[in-house]
């Protein structure tokens, strides 16, 4: 094995980095109670949590794509007034502690919140509902998609779009038939990352949506709860999330490599 001209000692910290993540994951896998796994995963509470997580994550991801793609394209290609401020605001959830995100949502959509009061008048209650779960997930996942699509759009430039316009295609046709297909790989990996982030959302959900079985208790919340009473169930559900996360990472990486190979 060669180190590409790097000093050999870089292998040591690099390996330590792999172990930092690899060992705990392996430790979890070693603790999995394989024999009881089917029963643990199919308990009513587990199935409720899994089904809720998949539904809310899918809805939140859809919301993220619908809102995030136009935002990413505007940030990449136009000199939007206040673009720096907009970008900072949109990327904030990446670095914000999720509990703070949850609190922000609660103070806005809660009963006494900025919008919550008006919504309550209309008979709409958001906090501590499944809608709150979706909003919390979309809040923290949006920046992943925006970053991915904006970067790709900036790199690609608008040259294909300019040619397509001269061929007679109006802006909407160009967006649909040129921009979106060209950005499909970045859109797919951004969507996968956003979906993964939605699945893993914990802090903002707990703060803003609470933990009600079948309504707001998603997989991560269920795991946290089971950890005290039934550690085996917690481990079993963790395995499920690890497998899902690994599948999403492999899916996004595989695409990246194929593109690199085609170049």
């Amino acid at each position: 094995m060669t180190t590409a001209g790097l000093p050999r000692w870089v292998l040591v910290p690099a390996l330590a980095g792999v172990l930092l993540i690899g060992v705990p994951v392996a430790g979890t896998l070693l603790r999995v109670p394989w024999a009881e796994l089917p029963a643990l995963l199919t308990s009513a509470a587990s199935l409720d949590a899994l089904w809720l997580s998949l539904r809310t994550s899918a809805a939140a991801t859809l919301l993220v794509v619908v809102l995030g793609v136009p935002l990413a394209l505007l940030l990449a290609w136009t000199d939007l007034p206040g673009a720096r401020v907009v970008r900072t605001v949109v990327l904030l959830p990446l670095v914000l502690p999720p509990v703070v995100s949850g609190l922000a949502l609660l103070t806005t959509f809660g009963r006494r919140g900025l919008l919550g009061r008006q919504l309550e008048v209309l008979g709409i209650d958001i906090a501590f509902t499944t809608t709150a779960v979706v909003l919390a997930q979309a809040f923290v996942a949006l920046p992943f998609l925006v970053l991915s699509v904006e970067g790709a759009a900036r790199t690609a430039g608008r040259r294909h779009e300019v040619v397509a316009a001269t061929l007679g295609a109006g802006p909407t046709t160009v967006l649909r038939r040129v921009t979106l297909p060209l950005l499909a790989p970045a859109l797919a990996s951004g969507t996968a990352l956003a979906f993964a982030r939605c699945l893993g959302e914990f802090g903002a959900t707990l703060t803003f949506a609470g933990s009600l079985q079948g309504v707001t208790r998603t997989l991560p919340l269920e795991i946290y709860l089971q950890r005290e009473t039934d550690p085996d169930a917690a481990i079993a559900l963790s395995l499920l999330l690890i497998v899902l996360a690994a599948a999403l990472v492999i899916a996004t990486q595989g695409r990246g490599r194929r593109r690199a190979g085609a170049r």
Binding site: R159, H160, A165, T166, L167, A169, V174, R177
Partner: protein, 354 residues
């Protein structure tokens, strides 16, 4: 109102560009000039990717840009073919060519028919089902040309369409373009740096320098009697721009060049052009038939096919070139920086009003 396919009289002050350009329907115009002369800006003004600060743009008698008027690119019927093919990777060749007709509302089947006909026209019918990544650079550019023709635009803009190709592919594509544009009677503006492109493709040449059109005319006229430094370089001739000095002579700074004629006006702008091959290099003035003798300092030597091009600059700043054989260069023992004489027979000099 002009009947021209394109009539451009528009300025973009922040780029220092003010272009006046007319392209008659059915003609191919070569737009030439040094990098940064404003050629790309002229194309952008025509295609509608750039809005002029002043002036207006007309396409086939319809104002598409000007005070209070604006037609976006997709409604101008002007298609663009760039240096890179920029095909859509998710569509096959036929799908790419059908893109324009489809965008304009043509049905799927008919758009495909149009696409196949255009591919046939550029000799790429057999590539119809291939994806861009399965095509060579030259094949991709053929498809891109077919795509630009497919919506039946009033005008095709080609921005250095052959510059990214190797010599052989460029030669083939040049013939494809000659058939598809000039012989088919289509209207086009071709930006190019290549004399071969100009000769093969263009009915007329427009020369830009520093953001302005400095010369325009029929291709043969511009190449044989250039009036701008760029056109002279393109045609490969020495050009001296000055004023008539009587007796068929042109005065440029401190230099006087005589043409074959013996009479002629005095005063008025005049040009003298002669081929570098007509220039002999001497250390001492020769006698004999009427000759022009210009003292120059050698500024450079470079190989030019089987000959060596000697570049020189006269005391008054005129830059001239002489093509000599390696043998005569060796016998002269010439080096850069030396003072020599460029000698050209009056009969080899063409003098004309500039």
């Amino acid at each position: 109102m002009s009947a021209a396919a394109l009539s451009l009289d528009a300025a973009v002050p922040e780029r220092g560009v003010h272009v006046e350009l007319d392209v008659p329907a059915g003609r191919v115009v070569a737009l030439v000039g040094a990098n940064g002369a404003g050629k790309s800006t002229a194309l952008a003004l025509a295609s509608g990717t750039l809005r002029p600060a002043q002036g207006d743009v007309w396409v086939a008698g319809r104002q598409v840009a000007g005070p209070g008027a604006w037609v976006p690119p997709h409604r101008r019927q002007i298609s663009l073919c760039a240096q890179e093919p920029l095909l859509l990777p998710h569509l096959d060749a036929a799908g790419n060519v059908a893109f324009g007709p489809r965008a304009l509302g043509t049905g799927r089947a008919q758009a495909r028919q149009v696409a196949l006909a255009r591919l046939e026209e550029v000799g790429a019918a057999h590539l119809a089902g291939r994806r861009p990544r399965e095509l060579s650079g030259g094949q991709q550019q053929r498809v891109a040309i077919a795509r630009a023709l497919a919506p039946e635009p009033r005008l095709v803009l080609l921005d250095e369409p052959l510059a990214a190709l190797d010599v052989d592919a460029a030669a083939e594509l040049r013939q494809v373009l000659r058939r598809a544009l000039r012989q088919a009677g289509r209207t086009a503006v071709v930006v190019t740096h290549s004399l071969l492109d100009v000769l093969a493709l263009a009915d007329a040449v427009v020369v830009m320098e520093d953001g302005h059109v400095v010369e325009h005319g029929a291709t043969a006229q511009v190449l044989t009697r250039p009036r701008s430094g760029f056109a002279a370089r393109l045609a490969g001739v020495n050009l001296l721009l000055g004023e008539h000095a009587g007796h068929g002579a042109v005065r440029v700074g401190g230099d006087v060049v005589h043409g074959p004629g013996d009479d002629g006006p005095t005063g008025g702008a005049a040009a003298a052009a002669f081929s570098p091959r007509a220039v002999a290099v001497h250390r001492e003035a020769p006698g004999g038939s009427p000759r022009n003798v210009l003292a120059v300092r050698v500024t450079g030597l470079e190989q030019q096919g089987a000959l060596v091009r000697v570049r020189g600059e006269s005391a008054s700043g005129n830059r001239l070139a002489a093509d000599v054989t390696p043998a005569s260069l060796a016998s002269l023992g010439l080096t850069v920086g030396e003072e020599v004489l460029f000698v050209v027979k009056a009969a080899e000099v063409e003098v004309y009003p500039a």
